[in-house]
Symmetry: C2
Subunit: 197 residues, 2 copies
DNA sequence: CCAATCATCTCGTTCATCGAGACAATAGCC
DNA sequence: GGCTATTGTCTCGATGAACGAGATGATTGG
């Protein structure tokens, strides 16, 4: 299960073919047992994490009577709260990729369960600020807390250089995903021009 | 129904106050305090990746006319295919946390779109094997491919020690998530033991 | 062969999400 | 000050994904 991509990588992946084909049949080496791009294994690991995490989230959500989307929303809300950023339905919908109607329903659910409260912004009265309740914070902690503790504990045994390597890798991966997302968002350069009429 | 909420919300508005307000906008140049547990930042990075990845998956799925669940299913199916494991509706449902009815609908969708085919198992004729079509493989690659290439490229600039650190961290994190998932699955130790009965 | 079990599928219901549009408040213009 | 365009949120009706319960067909064991 941990290797969807590696076989494909050699077929479709390296565009054109590297020519490293030669001794591929023999993996008998040492060190990198996989014999392929070293990053591939990391990708697999990462993918496994996201799959498991997703599942854990779904289970946690179901256990607490909320939908996967609700949990995702809570996470974003908690995050915004922590950063001191304004959370509004519009922003939330954007972050979750949801319709405005869906966001209204989502916030309704969250509000009904006492996780957030709608607060009309005094500055721009069009806006509604989403204020997270303690209940939501507690819920968020009960989800992330144990996980965080485990990971932090694991990270404790790394020295500075190793930590830095992990940090950089994670940051670069985040950047890669974000870049891909942007790429997917606008595959439509034809639009930007002289559509004038 | 719930529309009256916003009117009231502004009256409840500032009730406790979180204590942070006013010019929180200027946090200084750094962003956030790095002085915490070193692992915490890694957790945040990781979380950011999963969020973005999830969003990317949803967008990709929408673009190809399938639902987020369909993409997840395809990923699992591709994995199983690669590992040479039998893929069946039952197994798939288990991996995705879905009802058997939902799985039937899911496989119907996938089959209708030509991604998989139902094949009656000759050994145990109760079972239906899910055979992935090339179309699905290509789709999977078009989703993971670019991402993988980016990450692999990034990983290329790391030396063995760094790679090892990242690998270990990822593996430990995966283990942590899996452990948490197991913990969540049976939070019920009191039952098997000296329950009063 | 009959009963128990297992894997899958069918039926009817619930509700999350969507598209389109209504409504309220703000910002810019004169 | 009033007017219009824009922005942010919410409402309505429709679609369909997921669920719970149960039916159908195949396997195992006596």
């Amino acid at each position: 299960m941990e290797d969807t991509a590696d076989r494909q990588a050699q077929e479709h992946g390296p565009e054109g073919g590297h020519g490293r084909e030669g001794g591929r049949g023999r993996e008998g080496g040492h060190g990198r047992a996989q014999g392929q791009e070293p990053g591939l294994e990391l990708v697999h690991l990462l993918r496994g994490i996201t799959v498991e995490l997703d599942l854990l989230g779904a289970e946690f959500a179901a256990r607490h009577g909320l939908h996967p989307t609700d949990l995702r929303a809570l996470i974003h809300l908690l995050d915004a709260d922590r950063a001191g950023a304004d959370a509004t339905p519009g922003l939330l919908g954007e972050q979750l990729g949801l319709n405005s109607a869906s966001v209204t329903a989502l916030v309704d659910r969250l509000e009904r369960q006492g996780h957030v409260r709608r607060v009309r912004d005094t500055r721009d009265r069009r806006r509604v600020l989403l204020s997270v309740e303690d209940r939501a914070v507690a819920l968020g902690w009960s989800f992330f807390g144990p996980l965080i503790r485990r990971v932090v504990a694991a990270a404790g045994s790394y020295d500075e250089a190793e930590l830095d390597a992990v940090r950089r890798f994670l940051a670069e991966t985040a950047g890669a995903v974000a870049a891909e997302r942007r790429r997917a968002a606008e595959p439509d350069p034809a639009e930007g021009g002289s559509a004038s009429g």
